[in-house]
Point group: C2
Chain length 344, copies 2
């Protein structure tokens, strides 16, 4: 009454178990007569047989599963990465298992204990602690590991984005268009890792330009939180003529707040976001943003991981990509003059 195994199929088809494996392997280089193969396939079909992936993995020494470790939260940017990564892996006949990992690592204080899913390799995306914990545990942790996104670690394979350079370009753009009182909209708590580079860039550029810094703090990453924080800030003091936002979700909230206060985005107040999610383009006044190189980041991470799986003792692979500043009407006078201007 239990699930049929190779033994059952072999008996039913009157062949050996090895022949069953050969017939079902899908490999064309294995010699097998048409008739035998057909008999095995018919038997498997009749019995409802499916190979046991666990046994296959143990025998073959690999699972064809790649783990994707990330935080699953409310962000279109992350959804883009999941989708892109999944397509890449499928093309190579791998399957992807996502684990919402940060809290797990915190609970278990160890890398592989955080997830029992047997993987051939791991990609961690935007996880502050995974990289350093893997580096610490690497002697006893077997799977190949590539870190991707915002949190650089010197000891792991890594595909990152130069958030600092991107942010410098974005803030310099605001300065170059004549903005003098540029506020930085970021988070009251958490996420110091990815925020740090953008924070530093903001401070450095403003100091360079002889301008004063000012900060608007949102309690969490959400359109609504950003809306409220920006509205209250702008109501309390006047003179802000630009807002640089930690990410696009916050920028959307800022856009909403500015509009609600009867001001014009790109007019009284310029606005720049980060990450390049689609929504920034669809507003009546499209928002200038730093687009993340999602496509290339995923492609490189998978390439690094494949290289590592072929030769785990190979050299350290690291690559830093640059985000691309997409000028739009929310900050760029030239874009604003064109209808719905978008320089992408």
């Amino acid at each position: 009454m239990s699930r049929p195994t190779r033994t059952d199929v072999a008996r039913y088809a009157r062949v050996s178990e090895a022949t069953v494996s050969r017939a079902l392997s899908g490999r064309v280089d294995l010699a097998i007569t048409k008739d035998t193969r057909a008999r095995v396939l018919a038997a498997a079909e009749a019995l409802g047989y499916r190979p046991n992936p666990t046994a296959q993995a143990l025998a073959a020494g690999r699972t064809q599963i790649i783990g994707l470790w990330m935080c699953l939260d409310y962000s279109r940017y992350r959804a883009q990465v999941v989708d892109r990564m999944q397509r890449l892996l499928r093309q190579s006949d791998y399957c992807m298992a996502i684990t919402d990992i940060e809290e797990e690592i915190g609970q278990h204080h160890s890398f592989t204990r955080a997830s029992r899913v047997p993987v051939d390799g791991l990609i961690a995306f935007d996880t502050p602690t995974a990289g350093s914990i893997f580096a610490r545990d690497s002697r006893t942790e077997h799977p190949c590991f590539v870190s991707m996104g915002a949190y650089w670690d010197p000891h792991t394979h890594f595909v990152g984005v130069d958030l600092y350079a991107g942010a410098v370009e974005a803030v310099e753009h605001l300065v170059s268009t004549g903005r003098k009182r540029i506020a930085f909209l970021h988070l009251a708590a958490q996420d110091p890792g990815s925020a740090k580079a953008r924070y530093d860039a903001y401070c450095d550029v403003l100091q360079q330009a002889g301008l004063e810094t000012q900060f608007i703090l949102a309690p969490a990453i959400s359109v609504a939180d950003a809306h409220r924080s920006v509205r209250e800030y702008l109501q309390a003091r006047s003179g802000v003529d630009a807002i640089f936002c930690l990410n696009d979700d916050l920028a959307l909230g800022a856009h909403q707040a500015i509009t609600a206060l009867g001001m014009q985005v790109g007019g009284e107040i310029a606005l720049v976001g980060c990450d390049g999610i689609e929504e920034t383009e669809l507003l009546p006044c499209p928002i200038t943003t730093l687009r993340q190189p999602v496509e290339e980041m995923c492609r490189l991470a998978w390439q690094f991981l494949q290289t590592c799986m072929e030769d785990p003792s190979g050299p350290l692979q690291q690559r830093i990509l640059k985000p691309r500043l997409i000028l739009r009407a929310s900050s760029d006078p030239a874009s604003a003059r064109q209808k719905g201007g978008d320089a992408s």
Copy 2:
């Protein structure tokens, strides 16, 4: 140079392999002297040994992994479910592997082929096709399966939400507060499954009340899309005094559009969303919404799955929960009179 196995630990600690397994099992009911256990633990530590989860799974006949199949998209509601489910599973010493599944099923036309991750059980959340495909393949598919969310199938264990009843209550609320020209904001394409119940409820209640239906179509689920669609719709025609939204993301966009047009949410135009995401509460004018019973849905789904794993031939378990209408200032005069009124 390869990963150490139980054999290496046994040799190092000068005990048998069975003793190694016993010492590392963590089970207190197995007899083992303190000294032996300490020697094994020391050996494992020295060699950096970790049990191979694939081999453990094959020997024990279970993986302690539960698969969560869902669409990963831009929705706080889904993130809530992931988080809640993960906590529940961890409490029972299970590990969760998420697969972004819809497209996979479409590609492979079969249930287990869609994912190689060896699971003891599967929970599908808001996946239109997973349930019916599992029902079709159930003869040959072994893992226990529970479907959860919007897409009911008569043949699988299921925890659902009565979207129709909830939506009826929401629309009747609008009618009862005197709204006469109630529009339904939904999607131009896709997602007929979850939208259908709310669409039906809207039409039925309006017909019952002798009111005319009217529809605003957003191209996709996003705040920005909803903003644009609602703005254009309201600019083109006047007289709309309420909008019932397919979900809260669309409601946020509608809120934004109404405000941008200089009208007052809860005043000229009442607004009701669906799902109960946090953002709806944080706006200057909080939005009435149908809160999904996330907590109870996850708890029941896990309970059903555990029952099924204990006895796969047990009776069909199905349960329909009701969403809860949270009255707020966007539609409810009583809430509006209280400061930031929220009946939750």
